[in-house]
Symmetry: C2
Subunit: 401 residues, 2 copies
């Protein structure tokens, strides 16, 4: 590497721990609760195939040509209207279609983060956001939290001197990894704190539509449009393979994000945007998303029951009200990363929680996905996890003097 000189920021690019774990766990025969994938059983294959055919019959030249960096107009309008149904007031001109929500995070980093600038994140937070922001070399502040999410006081305690915290990155709904939702009261308190100190927010909402019994409260962006940059995605309600996400920016921010988008990949594939719009334009998601909710709710119930039955005493978790994940805190003396090889040897996999912390990871935490296994396999996988944990705990006791 003497010929090529790497940029300093490259030191902040690293292999994803999850990716490395997934490689191990994708061996046949492993009951993996490690993935962050939606269930392929939920993909509306027939509707997508028909939509592809219609787009390539009705507007093939437009779908296959270079297109606008902002995104496909009718899709931007759909997004604005969809978010209107959630209480946001969005002009289609504020919508930027991104190549997956991950690209939205990258553009946020590119436009808002200087090397050494503070960025506030939840504890724990979404690993992919840390990966997206890292090359822009922020200094993270981990917001203290409880079961309802970050504490308003942790926002009031942020240093607001120059260079100032650029934004707080929040995942209000069924957070990856913890599954928790911010209750209405916490949303209001966080907004009041952020407005009081002039701290902008980046609100990431890939899971909000996947509620089980009741929809989550309105987005933060609905209450403070000029202070919240909102990110959404089609990956969890339709399919991730199209790589289609979007961001909604306050008008003052939009032009720079658009220019960053253009520099990054010119535009998101036009055919993908048109096919997705063709699938959803007549209310398809109104019928489709409830089927995902029902499926995931049943799988969640199976995992809740299995955890109740098989986890050793001292294990902590909250039953999620939506999304895809359970977040466990193991009994004292259990290190989720250290135990993973034993789990894999017994035929199961999970993601150790350590990857999701900007600082001071809690080694006792782990994430379990319930959406890609059948209820029977969930029961079996969780039972095996319980056995691995008990074996470890019993071994530790025996070793004690």
């Amino acid at each position: 590497m003497t010929l090529w000189t790497l940029a300093r920021r490259s030191a902040r690019l690293n292999p994803s721990i999850i990716r490395e774990i997934l490689k191990v766990t994708e061996q046949p025969g492993i009951l993996s609760m490690a993935g962050g994938l939606p269930s392929a059983d939920t993909f509306p294959i027939q509707a997508i195939r028909e939509a592809c055919d219609r787009v390539l019959t009705q507007a093939p030249r437009e779908a296959l040509q270079y297109a606008a960096s902002e995104g496909f107009g009718p899709l931007r309008e759909w997004v604005a209207q969809h978010l209107g149904g959630m209480g946001m007031r969005v002009d289609p001109g504020q919508v930027l279609i991104t190549t997956g929500s991950q690209q939205g995070l990258d553009l946020v980093g590119k436009v808002l983060v200087d090397a050494g600038a503070p960025v506030a994140v939840e504890t724990p937070t979404y690993l992919g956001a840390l990966q997206a922001f890292n090359p822009y070399e922020p200094i993270y502040t981990s917001l203290a939290g409880d079961a309802d999410g970050p504490l308003p006081d942790s926002i009031r305690a942020l240093p607001h001197d120059a260079p100032g915290t650029r934004f707080a990155y929040l995942l209000p709904n069924f957070q990856n990894p913890t599954g928790r939702v911010l209750p209405e009261a916490r949303r209001l308190a966080l907004l009041a704190a952020a407005q009081a100190v002039g701290l902008p927010l980046v609100e990431d909402n890939p899971y909000g539509d996947l509620w089980f019994d009741a929809p989550p409260p309105a987005p933060l962006a609905a209450r403070w449009p000029e202070g919240v940059l909102y990110l959404g995605s089609f990956s969890k309600v339709l399919t991730p393979g199209f790589r289609l996400g979007y961001l909604v920016a306050p008008p003052a921010l939009y032009p720079k994000l658009l220019q960053a988008k253009q520099a990054a990949d010119l535009h998101t594939p036009g055919i993908n945007q048109r096919v997705v719009h063709e699938v959803i334009k007549n209310g398809f998601l109104d019928q489709h998303v409830p089927t995902i909710r029902a499926r995931y709710a049943a799988q969640c119930a199976a995992m809740a029951e299995a955890l109740q039955r098989h986890m050793p005493e001292g294990t902590e978790w909250q039953r999620p009200q939506g999304g895809m994940f359970f977040w466990l805190r193991l009994p004292a003396g259990c290190d989720a990363m250290a135990l993973l090889p034993q789990a894999v040897a017994q035929g199961i996999a999970y993601v150790p929680g350590a990857a999701f912390y900007a600082h001071a990871a809690d080694p006792r935490t782990l994430r379990l996905s319930f959406v890609t296994l059948s209820p029977d396999d969930i029961a079996s996988g969780v039972a095996t996890l319980g056995k691995v944990l008990r074996t470890h705990i019993d071994g530790t006791r025996e070793e004690a003097p």
Copy 2:
């Protein structure tokens, strides 16, 4: 904007001049020679529709799920083999599928460019590369050149003290904007100079397959694999709407580029990769690309003839041997940017050359695309351009004392 603080690099993000021009010129009735688009008449719509249907019938769950950041294995193998046919020796493990070649440029900037680091570019160079690199805040060195491309002496003259020039960005084949190809002798001389001073090269080759009479010489990457990062694209030989490009990196560089790719958008849409592979896997491009060459060659000939007939004395150009563009240098006293409104008023459009220079733009230059107009419209458009220029030149003479 007091609430949101922009990163310093945002100052280097700006609206694309070309984009702004295209907005004006996309009015109906304008004969536009301004676009950088391939001709939609070349899109193999039927083959793509059939391939979509096969992919969504045979492997829909895989095509619509999250996928590997490196890209779809069989497509990476195809790329390695295709480049082998051009004299490169590429392992599929060196191929990274990108969301258009533009993303390859962004990843190069992210991994290799520090703020203030020198990057050498051709004079003029591809505007989109400047846009991709700009947010990483390089200091450009414009390489002096002649009709055969950059001069080897301009590479020997680069400052190689710390921090050192990170790379020279070169477009050997039918360059956008000038259309010129680097002859074999110039390639060898540039490689010798780069190797002598230890300067890595980024070789961008979106147009290499679009030759008219004879293929261009072998890529630079074929002669110096460890010192050249190569970028390719399906946008000009198939369709840009899928946003499919690729880079081939020396093995030492690959992991950081892959990590940057993962942080940028996780992966390029799997369905797009599978559909394109399905279209091309059995030699489709061997039949298809010659039809594009023949079409573009005829359009190029029409423009060459029209320029010969209509350009005022003192206008300079080279007839391109491939690609999509003519590059004109107008007679003294003609400023292409200043004349554009008059051209648009007369119903034609072009791109002023100024946008393609990192420094000291030559205001007399402009770019004409010949691929999206019929030969008749080309003749008519160039005749109008000639009239606009003559009117200006005559008016200038009359104004002279």
